[in-house]
Point group: D2
Chain length 162, copies 4
Amino acid sequence: MTDFHDAPELAVSDWFNTPEPLTIAGLRGQVVVIEAFQMLCPGCVSHGIPQAQRVASTFGSDITMIGLHTVFEHHDAMTPVSLEAFLHEYRITFPVGVDEAAGAGGMPVTMRRYGLRGTPSLLLIDRAGQLRVNAFGQVDDLVLGARIARLIDEPVPDVDAG
Amino acid sequence: MTDFHDAPELAVSDWFNTPEPLTIAGLRGQVVVIEAFQMLCPGCVSHGIPQAQRVASTFGSDITMIGLHTVFEHHDAMTPVSLEAFLHEYRITFPVGVDEAAGAGGMPVTMRRYGLRGTPSLLLIDRAGQLRVNAFGQVDDLVLGARIARLIDEPVPDVDAG
Amino acid sequence: MTDFHDAPELAVSDWFNTPEPLTIAGLRGQVVVIEAFQMLCPGCVSHGIPQAQRVASTFGSDITMIGLHTVFEHHDAMTPVSLEAFLHEYRITFPVGVDEAAGAGGMPVTMRRYGLRGTPSLLLIDRAGQLRVNAFGQVDDLVLGARIARLIDEPVPDVDAG
Amino acid sequence: MTDFHDAPELAVSDWFNTPEPLTIAGLRGQVVVIEAFQMLCPGCVSHGIPQAQRVASTFGSDITMIGLHTVFEHHDAMTPVSLEAFLHEYRITFPVGVDEAAGAGGMPVTMRRYGLRGTPSLLLIDRAGQLRVNAFGQVDDLVLGARIARLIDEPVPDVDAG
C-alpha cells in the first residue's frame, strides 16, 4: 500500500551529546530528523547545521534531531577530535554520530546505506521507521516545517505489530 | 468546545490582482493566509511581503493568500495609486485589498475588527472561518510552515451546518 | 590633462532634510556622494539606500551625502508627499532632492543631464566639481570605501582659479 | 614623530598557498593585510574569511593578503592537516601560515607578539613595516576599503634608510 521503505539502521562509531547510542530501531514511534553533514563542508556550515539547530529548537521533544557526520573526503582532516571541537564552537547540542568508516577512505557505511548524494543531506523518518524524505542540498524552511508537522501528526503505529 | 472565534469580515475599498472582491464568508472551506502590511513599513518590505510571496509559491492552491493594505499612518503617502505601483515593482501577484478607511485618518476598519497591533501582521484562518493565528512582527518560516500544513490537513467543515 | 567632466548642476523641485537648496556649484571644495533612487525601486530599498546610510555615517562631515529622487516611472505613485513618508519610515536624515520633472512623465532633468541608466545609481563628485564615478546597480562597499577615501584625500582646489 | 610601531615578525611553522615563506621584513615596501583566524571559529568562517577573500580579489596586487592560523584553543582539532582541507573546501587561495605553537597549548608566538585579543583579528601593515591597524571582531567593509586605499597611496619608503 505504500512506496516508502524502512529506514536503514545507523552505523556509528562515535557518539557525541548523548549518554548512549541511538538506533533507528530504538527510535520507532518517534519522528526522526537527521542532518547528514561534514564539518568542513561550507554548505553544511552556512545552511544545513543552522537549519538543524532551528528544527531542534522549534519542534523540541516532538521530534528527535540527530546529526550524522558522514565523512567521505579529507578523512584525516575531520576526525572525531576535530568534530568534537566543531560541535563545541558551533554550540550544537543535539546528538551527533560519526558515520562508520568503510575500509580505506571513501563513503562511510550509513551514507552508503541511505544512498546519500553528498552533504548536506536531510532525512526524515516517520514514527513507523520509514524513510520519508531524503533531500540533498538546500531545503526551504516553509517546506520543511510543513513536512515535519505532518509527520508529527501521523498516528503512532502499533509497535508490536511493526 | 473551542476557544477560537470567527474571523471578522473584511472591509475593503479597492482590490488588486483579483477579478472580484474576496470575502471571509466566500472563502469558507479554504485555508486563508492574510498578510497585513503597509507599503512604506520597512519590516513589511524586508520580512512580511517576501514571506507572503514564499507562502504563496510554496502552498499554491492549498491556501488562499491575501494581502491587506492596512494604512494607519501617512495616509496621503500610501494611496491606492501608490500601492498599485508598489505591487508592480515588487511583483506581488496574489490578491491585495485596501483596508477601508475609517473617517479622518487613524486605524482602518478591518485592522480594528481584527485588533491588529501594527504591521506586518500575519493572520491564519481555518476552513471553518475561524481566526487561528494573529501574529504581529516576525514569524519564523519553520513555525509558519507547520501551522499552515496543519490547517490544510484539517477536515473541510460541512458548510451547510456552518 | 584630465578626462573628467564637470558634474552637471542639479535640477531639484523639492528638498527634504536641508534648510536650503544644495547646488553642485555651492558644494565646490567638498566631496559629494549622490544616491539616485526611486522609493519604489526594490534594489534601491534593499541595497542603494542602506549603502548611502552607511556612507553617511561612516564618512560624516568628510563628505556631503545627497539623495536624489529620480522618478522616471509611476510618477503619480512617488510624489513628494509619498517620498516624505518614505524618508521618515526609513529614517533617512541626509538631504534628499526631488529631481525636476520634465514635461509629461519620462526621465527627469538631472537624471538626463547625468545620463543615468536607471536606479539605483551612485555618483561621486570630487572637490573640483568633476564627476568621477557614475555607477548603475550594486557597488561593492570595499570598492566604494576606497574610492571615497581617495577623493577625500585629494587636495582642495583653488576655488578662485576654478 | 610617529606613534606607530614596527610590526613584529611572523613566526610560522607551516605555509600553504605560497612557494616560499613570507616575512614582514621581506614584504617591506608593500601593504600587508593579515587575517588572523581559527578554522573552527564561527565568526572567522562567517565574517573574517569572506572579508579577506573580498579584500584579496578587490585590491589584487596592490596589497599582500596573508592568512594566519592562530590556534589558541582546541589545538588537536585544528592541525595543519585539518587546515589544509579547510583551505581547499573554502577555496582560500592567498598564502596562509600556521602560527608557531608555544610549548604546551595556549597562545601561539605571533599572536602573542601582536597582542591579539582573539579571532578573527585584522592587521594592516604599511609599506614601512609599521602596524597601522589591529582590529578584533567585525570590521566594516567601507571603513576597511578606505583604510587599505590610504595605505596603498602612501609613498614607498626608501628601504635602505629604513
